[in-house]
Amino acid sequence: MNNKLSRNLYMIPYAIWILLFVIAPILLVVYYSFIDTQGNFSFVNYEKFFSSVYLKMTLSSFWYAFLITLISLIIAYPTAYLLTKTKHKQLWLLLIIVPSWINLLLKAYAFIGIFGTYGVANSFLEVVGIGTQQLLFTDFSFIFVSVYIFIPFMILPIFNALDNVNPTLLDAANDLGASKWTTFRRVIFPITLDGVKSGIQITFIPALSLFMLTRLIAGNRVITLGTAIEQHFLVTQDWGMGATIAVFLIIAMFIIMFITGHRKRGA
């Protein structure tokens, strides 16, 4: 009895937190999404969302988020794998994580300098004979910088998963005659799949709503759902439309969580 009481007591901070900072905001967002610019209840924001402008924006957001996640994964998995094989792996991991402590805006401004017409990247291209290219404000620079920013978040869960692989399993696979590739495909990868899934979640969802980079690095040549939300809340003050886009982002988030969610093994 006493035990149950104390357990309920411990639940209070959690319950308050969830109520105030998760449930209430989502309800508010849903409520605002039904309010038009006149303050009346209507479905006009949803109609607008299914117009060509917003649908195109949704598709392009998903496309860029997909590319960013895919490239991050392609780079992060081998990196994480190599890291687990190094001697001072915690140190190397730390070095990869340290840049993520630096403010995003500072890094974005640094990239404006690097990718500029007279920047380091172009000086290099000049030296190797390719000549100056337009790098800043292109799809390439946007995806490059986004990948750079998200990569530590992709590496970390994969590293943890790989680090937890029991080495006896690999020995067993080896003893039973599996080639290195088969071992990876049938043993290592399935075990680390959960790490990969968390990495995808942490990358894909924020990538969908990136907004400062679209202006600083892509020069608004790439418009994501996040950019549109920012505009509606801060500039047009059309909170209804901003909230409607946010509702779709939340739905997208749940779908991604569902697809990449941890299912119980053997169930």
């Binding site: 924006m57 801060l234 003050q237 059309d238």
Partner: protein, 357 residues
């Protein structure tokens, strides 16, 4: 568990010590009691020496904070957290703030220096009788361009931007009213047009500008133009004069079809605690000598006619920043178009930004 408790206690102690330290520092800097004045201004928009001068003259300590958009400023004042005593919004924001009761009426008897302001800038549509606001700086929207990179191109018309030789050379500012307004101006419509056909027409015309556009950015355009990253940019006049100091190849023009005329004004928000001090500060900034010094530093256009007499001739006579009466005739002040129209402007702007080469 014991370690956890120790860590927890350590954090609490360190936080408490930091709090005490902050209070001590604030007290030693005079940030306590009624003797402070919180000024909320745009970034890099005052000669900081003047703040010291004001502090010496009046014994009031100024806490100076900056913002980078009217909307952000207004949101902060609405929320109330900080007691701003003086703020400097633009005209269309003042209209909104008056509507929402966010401003305190000015006591003109405490502002004797108000008579230094040019009649032309008083009693404007956004605040009849200057009940709530006093002009601080004004300016235009126009084109800053790099003479070195473009040879003898000039920008007497907005249509010059559509010249195919400018491929991938233009920076636009990330503002719906500025960019759609440019489209409207180039077609000869008003900047405050709400006719949907006209707005559609302007958007279609803007889409044909896409091959020439390099990027649509914010304040970064100053840095990018000064570094010759692009040859042409749509900017506010004051930003233009600021980067023209940095890069001598740059020049500024306001196209003849007309453009936007804007005002930044000093107001006292309803959050003010030191209303008397706020009046003193506004009056101080209106003083001819102070305004002249401030204008030379900030390099925007001053509405203070007495200050103009004290400033270097070449600055005052510069028609790029103090346009001739003929051009001024064609300049328009933004009106508050209401949420619905603004939202329509923004949708069109979004459609334009989404349009790919």
């Amino acid at each position: 568990m014991k370690k956890l408790m120790q860590a927890f206690v350590a954090i609490v102690i360190v936080s408490a010590l930091l709090l005490v330290a902050i209070n001590r520092l604030n007290a030693s800097a005079g940030y306590s009691g009624d003797n402070t004045l919180t000024v909320y201004n745009w970034g890099d928009y005052i000669d900081e020496e003047l703040i010291e001068q004001f502090e010496e003259e009046t014994g009031i300590t100024i806490i100076y904070e900056t913002f980078d958009s009217n909307e952000a400023m207004m949101t902060k004042i609405e929320q109330g957290g900080t007691s701003y005593d003086v703020a400097v919004p633009s005209e269309y924001t003042i209209e909104k703030m008056i509507e929402q009761d966010l401003l305190i009426e000015l006591d003109h008897s405490k502002l004797p220096n108000l008579e230094n302001i040019d009649e032309r800038f008083m009693d404007l549509a956004f605040d009849p009788g200057n009940k709530y606001s006093v002009p601080y700086f004004w300016g235009t929207v126009g084109i800053v361009y790099n003479k070195e990179m473009l040879g003898d191109m000039t920008f007497s018309s907005w249509d010059d931007l559509w010249n195919p030789s400018l491929e991938n050379e233009i920076l636009l500012v990330d503002g719906a009213r500025e960019v759609i307004g440019m489209g409207l101006n180039s077609l000869g419509y008003s900047l405050n047009d709400t006719n949907k056909d006209h707005l559609q027409e302007a958007t279609e015309k803007l889409k044909t500008l896409t091959p020439n556009i390099k990027a649509i950015v914010g304040d970064e355009n100053k840095l990018l133009m000064a570094n010759e990253e692009a040859a042409v940019a749509l900017v506010w006049s004051g930003d233009a004069s600021e980067i023209m100091f940095e890069n001598e190849n740059l020049d500024y023009a306001v196209p003849e079809e007309g453009s936007n005329l804007w005002f930044d004004n000093m107001v006292i928000p309803s959050t003010a605690r030191n209303v008397d001090g706020a009046h003193q500060f506004i009056n101080f900034m209106l003083d001819a000598e102070v305004a002249a010094q401030n204008t030379e530093y900030v390099s925007y256009s001053t509405p203070n006619k007495e200050a103009l007499k004290l400033m270097p001739e070449d600055m005052v006579k510069d028609e790029r920043f103090y346009p001739s009466p003929e051009l001024t005739e064609k300049l328009e002040v933004y009106e508050n178009l209401g949420k619905e129209n603004l939202s329509y402007y923004n949708d069109l702007f979004l459609e334009f930004k989404m349009y790919r080469k």
